[in-house]
């Protein structure tokens, strides 16, 4: 019985590979884009312009306050009504990138604010331009605070990418859903799906934990 099911599941490995590929691709593209945009937003938000920072703050709050599933539905079903045609893959990328950018923005803001003002003042006194102050003085020090939660955020992003299966993208979770219609053993099928995510996410979780310990030790802080 279980052998037949295993064989049947093994028979659908091309589908499973496609699903895994889709999950990895979605996560990777939105991870890169989200990091870039998130850093940009975080730097803009701490830049001193009150209007810009409150607009970004309001947007981040909107995104943090609504379920990701609702955000995907909004993007996938409403952008076409505004005349922007897009397929499920693009909608998924937009939704995930936006989500990642908002959370990373918060992380970057916390990191930048943790840098003592004396550092910025010293850079100012040394005649560094705004760009150089950010790039050579503030960001390198902020990275200690930013790095551990950033890696944690990547784990969340990979897990959240499973939600795009709701608009019909064939990612790993969707493959599980398709296979379970043929092989009626939900425990086995979704154990394997979970294993797929675990293999990708667990090393990242360990990395985040190690970074946290290292950065904490380097800072002489007591970690909660």
């Amino acid at each position: 019985m279980i052998w037949q099911q295993l064989q049947s599941i093994a028979g659908s490995y091309p589908l499973a590979l496609r699903g895994l590929g889709m999950t990895v691709m979605l996560s990777l593209i939105s991870l890169v884009l989200g990091t870039l945009i998130g850093f940009g937003l975080g730097i803009l938000r701490t830049g001193g312009n009150r209007l810009i920072s409150s607009v970004i703050g309001a947007w981040v709050d909107l995104i943090r306050g609504t379920p990701f599933l609702v955000q995907i539905f909004l993007i996938f079903f409403i952008l076409p009504e505004l005349g922007i045609e897009l397929d499920a893959f693009t909608a998924g990328i937009i939704a995930l990138t936006n989500l990642a950018a908002c959370f990373i923005c918060e992380i970057v803001v916390a990191g930048i604010r943790s840098v003592p003002t004396g550092q910025v003042e010293a850079a100012l006194a040394s005649g560094l331009s705004r760009w150089h102050r950010m790039r050579q003085v503030v960001l390198p020090q902020a990275m200690r605070i930013v790095l551990p939660p950033l890696v944690g955020q990547y784990v969340l992003l990979i897990k959240d990418s499973s939600v795009v299966s709701a608009i019909g993208l064939t990612d790993l979770t969707r493959v599980g859903w398709l296979v379970v219609q043929r092989v009626p053993n939900g425990l086995l099928v979704f154990f394997l799906v979970g294993l797929g995510y675990f293999i990708v996410c667990y090393p990242l979780i360990l990395l985040a934990r190690r970074l946290e310990q290292r950065m904490g030790a380097a800072h002489g802080e007591v970690q909660l």
């Binding site: 909107l62 943090r64 306050g65 609504t66 379920p67 990701f68 599933l69 609702v70 955000q71 539905f73 909004l74 079903f77 409403i78 009504e81 505004l82 005349g83 784990v155 990979i158 897990k159 959240d160 990418s161 499973s162 939600v163 299966s165 709701a166 790993l172 979770t173 599980g176 859903w177 379970v180 009626p184 053993n185 939900g186 425990l187 099928v189 979704f190 154990f191 799906v193 979970g194 995510y197 675990f198 996410c201 667990y202 979780i205 007591v222 909660l224």
Partner: protein, 223 residues
């Protein structure tokens, strides 16, 4: 285009949204209670010195944290009937949310207990307190204080996560939006309305977290 945005339809569907909101709230409350129960047990197991309880608790917490909630939900939804356990979708959903959030709650509680300085425990020992007395009178009251804000943060996550239950046809808030979207072909009206309702819950809980931080005298409490 959105110029035909129909407030009238939203008003017409308001009872449905209201029911969905109420369902989302009470299923979140039940799930959070379940998550607290699971979290307390896991945290207690995880703080033991012996490996017999600690290793399974750690493995469970890692497994939950490294896999998506949706996969866990489907695992239970498609898997439980396989074991001869047939439950209504709503119960499966509450179970999945409790088991998932419980792992995160366990970490919050553990961090709270570990945040109590060693000196406090030693002072308890020096005063001749038993283990139970130390826990009950010294450690837990202080740990309780620091765990409240992050627990409310986890409650926010849980409310948002409960939207996934719409995918196994639980009639909660997101499902109400989907119904309006599919019955009347009005996705904008449906999804913008439920987004507004979720924001209401979000700001409510966030305000509560800020207030609790102030009541408990935690300066700059993070959620």
């Amino acid at each position: 285009m959105l110029e035909n945005f129909s407030f009238r339809t939203i008003v017409e569907y308001l009872p449905l949204f209201g029911q969905g909101l109420v369902t989302t709230v009470w299923l979140s409350v039940l799930s959070f209670a379940g998550a607290l129960a699971v979290g307390i047990v896991l945290a207690a197991m995880n703080l033991q010195r012996g490996w017999l309880f600690r290793v399974p608790a750690k493995a469970y917490i890692d497994a939950v944290r490294a896999t998506p909630l949706l996969a866990q939900l489907y695992f239970l939804y498609f898997g439980l009937p396989r074991l001869g356990i047939v439950l209504p979708e709503l119960v499966v959903g509450i179970l999945a949310l409790s088991l998932n959030s419980g792992a995160y709650v366990a970490e919050i509680i553990r961090a709270g207990i570990l945040s109590i300085p060693r000196g406090q425990v030693e002072a308890g020992v020096a005063s001749g307190m038993t283990y139970i007395q130390r826990m009950r009178l010294v450690i837990l009251p202080q740990a309780f204080k620091v765990t409240i804000p992050p627990l409310l943060g986890q409650a926010i996550v849980l409310v948002k996560d409960s939207a996934l239950l719409s995918l196994i046809a639980v009639a909660e808030l997101t499902r109400a939006g989907q119904l309006l979207a599919s019955d009347r072909f009005m996705p904008a009206e449906g999804f913008i309305t439920i987004a507004a309702f979720y924001l209401l819950l979000y700001y409510g809980l966030k305000g509560l977290a800020a207030l609790s931080g102030r009541w408990l005298g935690l300066a700059g409490a993070r959620t």
